[in-house]
C-alpha cells in the first residue's frame, strides 16, 4: 500500500475563492496570479492565515515572525501589514482586520449569500 504524506502534515494549504496559500512551497496566489511576497510578508500572512478567524496578537506576530521577545517601539510590524494589504488589493479590508490594542485577524473569504438563511437571524458571537 502507498504512503500518504498528506496524512502527516496537518494543513499544507489554505484555499478560498480568491486566495490560495501553499504552505509547503511558501507561495501564495490571489485570483490565480502569484503574489510576489517577500519572506517576511509571506511569514506574516501565513501565520495569520493559519489562525484564520482568530485574533493573533502583536506579541505573537513579533515573536513568531521576528523572533523578538517583546518590547518593540518601531512600526516594523505595521509597515509589513501595510505592504501585505497593498498586495491583497481590494481584498485587503475583507481579509485583514485590525483589532485595536491587540493585534490582527485574518478573516477567511465568505461568499456572498444570495438568499437569507436562518443563521442570519440569530445574533452571532464575536
Amino acid at each position: 500500500m502507498g504512503t500518504f504524506s498528506a496524512a502527516i502534515i496537518p494543513t499544507e494549504r489554505y484555499q478560498d475563492a480568491h486566495l490560495d496559500l501553499d504552505f509547503q512551497h511558501k507561495t501564495a496566489r490571489l485570483d490565480l496570479a502569484p503574489m510576489r511576497l517577500t519572506r517576511k510578508e509571506y511569514d506574516l500572512l501565513a501565520l495569520l492565515v493559519q489562525n484564520a478567524g482568530e485574533i493573533v496578537t502583536r506579541e505573537a506576530l513579533l515573536m513568531r515572525v521576528w523572533g523578538y521577545s517583546t518590547q518593540i517601539k518601531t512600526r516594523t510590524l505595521d509597515v509589513h501589514i501595510r505592504r501585505l494589504r497593498k498586495k491583497l488589493g481590494d481584498y485587503a479590508d475583507q481579509y485583514i482586520e485590525t483589532i485595536f490594542g491587540i493585534g490582527y485577524r485574518f478573516q477567511p473569504y465568505r461568499p456572498p449569500r444570495l438568499f437569507r438563511v436562518a443563521s442570519d437571524l440569530v445574533s452571532v458571537g464575536a
Copy 2:
C-alpha cells in the same frame, strides 16, 4: 512483455517551443540552433530544467553541480547563471527566475492562449 527503458529513465528530454534539452547527449538547442554550453553551464541548466517550475535552492545547485557542501562566499554560481542567461538571449528572463534569498527557478515556456478554455474558470491548485 518488452522492456521499456523509458520507464527507467524519468525524462531524457525537455522540449518546448524554443528550448530543447537532450539529457542523454547533454546537448541543448535554442530555436533549433545548438547552444554551445560548457559543462558547468549545461549541468546548471539541466538541473534547473529537471526541476522545472520548482525552486532549486542555491545550496542544492552548489551541492549538485559543484559538489560543495555549503558555505560559499564567492560569486561562482551567479557568474554561471549570468553566462547561461546570456546564452538564452531574449528568453533568459522568461526561463530563469531569481528567487531572492533562496535560489533560482526554471519556468517552462507557456505558449500564449488564443482562446479561453474551461480550465481557466475552475479555481486550480498550484
